[in-house]
């Protein structure tokens, strides 16, 4: 087998295996997300009231909420 032929074999095998591997990983990831979101949803976090960011944080959040509401309203 000439080296070019070997290269072609390697190319076919390589591209095929990379795709097979990542296609399987796509399905695994989807399954994983499905199971996690279905059976172990994240608990509603008791609003981020960390002592590190007291007043400023909540005000930022209020502003963000106001902006979000305004954007949603204007999109209608």
């Amino acid at each position: 087998m000439s080296s070019i032929e070997q290269g072609l074999v390697l190319m076919l095998v390589g591209v095929a295996v990379v795709f097979i591997f990542l296609v399987i990983l796509v399905f695994i990831t989807k399954l994983l997300s499905y199971v996690v979101l279905r059976y172990f949803p994240e608990k509603e976090k008791p609003a981020p009231k960390k002592p590190s960011a007291p007043a400023a944080g909540s005000r930022d959040a209020e502003i963000a909420a106001a902006i979000a509401a305004a954007t949603a309203y204007s999109k209608r």
Partner: protein, 382 residues
């Protein structure tokens, strides 16, 4: 021995008397790399250290990169056995956020498509082997191809396992082209997409929970263990770092991996790679061939990533902007930033960065998988 003789002996041991033209040229190359790092900020962490290593390696008499010299010791300690690239990969894992990819798993396919460049360059190397002055074995060709993975540590790891003699030029080509991604990719992106495609807006990514982020590295490693054990050194290190970051209970380890450790290893790795740039090994026609093939690998990888993204856009329910396919070559996070920039040139309100991070980190996995395949198959074919 009289005074005149002593001076004669000293004179014979000076740099002036012992320089070869090749060494001068390589010191100049080292200076150019340092210039590019400092003045142009091209991958400064690596071009600076490699460039300085190249200067030290080409000093006559001192034998700094010989087995007893300090660069030679770095080289033996971590490059020859593939240790340093794996340590870097742990740091990369601790800095990687797989979130955008978990939110949109389809983008993993783009990371696969962009690896085609690796195998095109591999074929190219075997074609170049037919020319005079150039001789590339299959193992050499595989190491050259992996430049197209656009992932420095992966390229160094594969080369250290398959074809040690080409380590200098391959590492230099890999890191140089990674720093040139903002110059290489945009024209290719524009050539293969229409304006209509480039302005496509993508839906915002959903929130990814912490549990998903913790389970993903374990699942990916499990798949790798089952299908491709030769890729587990790379994927295992990557996922070790990533899990350390995502689990949230070993922040000290995660912090060390992504800061102190990766910085220290970068110093050793850069200098040791530079030490492989000795004139007699580096100034060859083969180096020119490797530099050309590296460019081919990058170009084709970008192209195939974009083409698959176009196909996916046709068949998928939600819109996919084909530009993000270019980020599949890895070169994290540079390629994703380039995709974002090209997208904003067409539509300043289009933010593709997070969407491009998906294929971008998928590209890291894709090139590690490709590396695993080469490491598994090439030794058998030889």
């Amino acid at each position: 021995m009289n005074i005149a003789n002593a001076f004669q002996e000293f004179w014979n041991a000076t740099g002036v008397m012992n320089f070869t033209i090749g060494q001068l040229v390589m010191i100049l190359v080292g200076l150019v790399m340092i210039y590019l790092a400092i003045a142009k900020k091209y991958e400064p962490l690596l071009l600076f250290t490699i460039g300085f290593g190249a200067i030290l390696a080409n000093i006559p008499v001192a034998e700094i990169s010989g087995p007893e010299g300090f660069l030679g010791i770095f080289y033996q300690a971590g490059i020859a056995n593939g240790l340093f690239p794996l340590l870097i990969f742990m740091g990369v894992g601790a800095m990687t956020d797989f979130g955008p990819m978990i939110a949109n798993p389809k983008t993993l396919l783009l990371g696969a498509a962009a690896q085609v460049g690796i195998f095109i360059a591999l074929l190219g190397a075997l074609v170049l082997d037919m020319f005079p002055f150039i001789s590339f074995s299959l193992a050499d060709a595989a190491s050259i191809g992996i430049i197209g993975g656009a992932d420095g540590p992966t390229a160094i790891y594969v080369t250290s396992q398959l074809s040690m003699r080409l380590l200098g030029p391959i590492a230099v080509a890999a890191y140089s082209y990674m720093s040139l991604v903002p110059i290489i990719q945009p024209p290719i992106i524009r050539a293969f997409t229409t304006k209509k495609e480039r302005v496509i807006k993508m839906e915002q990514l959903r929130h990814v929970t912490q549990l998903e982020k913790i389970l993903f590295p374990i699942a990916a490693l499990a798949l790798c263990i089952v299908l491709l054990p030769t890729a587990t050194p790379l994927i295992g290190s990557l996922m070790f770092g990533n899990l350390a970051k995502e689990c949230g209970v070993v922040n000290r380890i995660s912090d060390t991996l992504q800061n102190a450790l990766i910085n220290i290893v970068t110093i050793f790795l850069g200098l040791a790679v530079g030490s492989r740039m000795e004139a007699q090994y580096f100034l060859t026609f083969e180096t020119l061939g490797i530099l050309a093939l590296g460019l081919v690998a990058f170009g084709f990888g970008t192209m195939t990533g974009i083409l698959l993204a176009k196909v996916m856009n046709k068949f998928s329910k939600e819109d996919i902007n084909p530009i993000i396919g270019a980020a599949g070559v890895s070169a994290v996070p540079m390629a994703a930033r380039v995709a974002n920039k090209v997208g904003q040139e067409e539509n300043p309100h289009n933010f593709l960065l997070m969407h491009a991070m998906g294929p971008n980190v998928a590209g890291v996995l894709g090139s590690a998988v490709a590396a695993g395949i080469l490491l598994a198959v090439v030794p058998i074919l030889m």
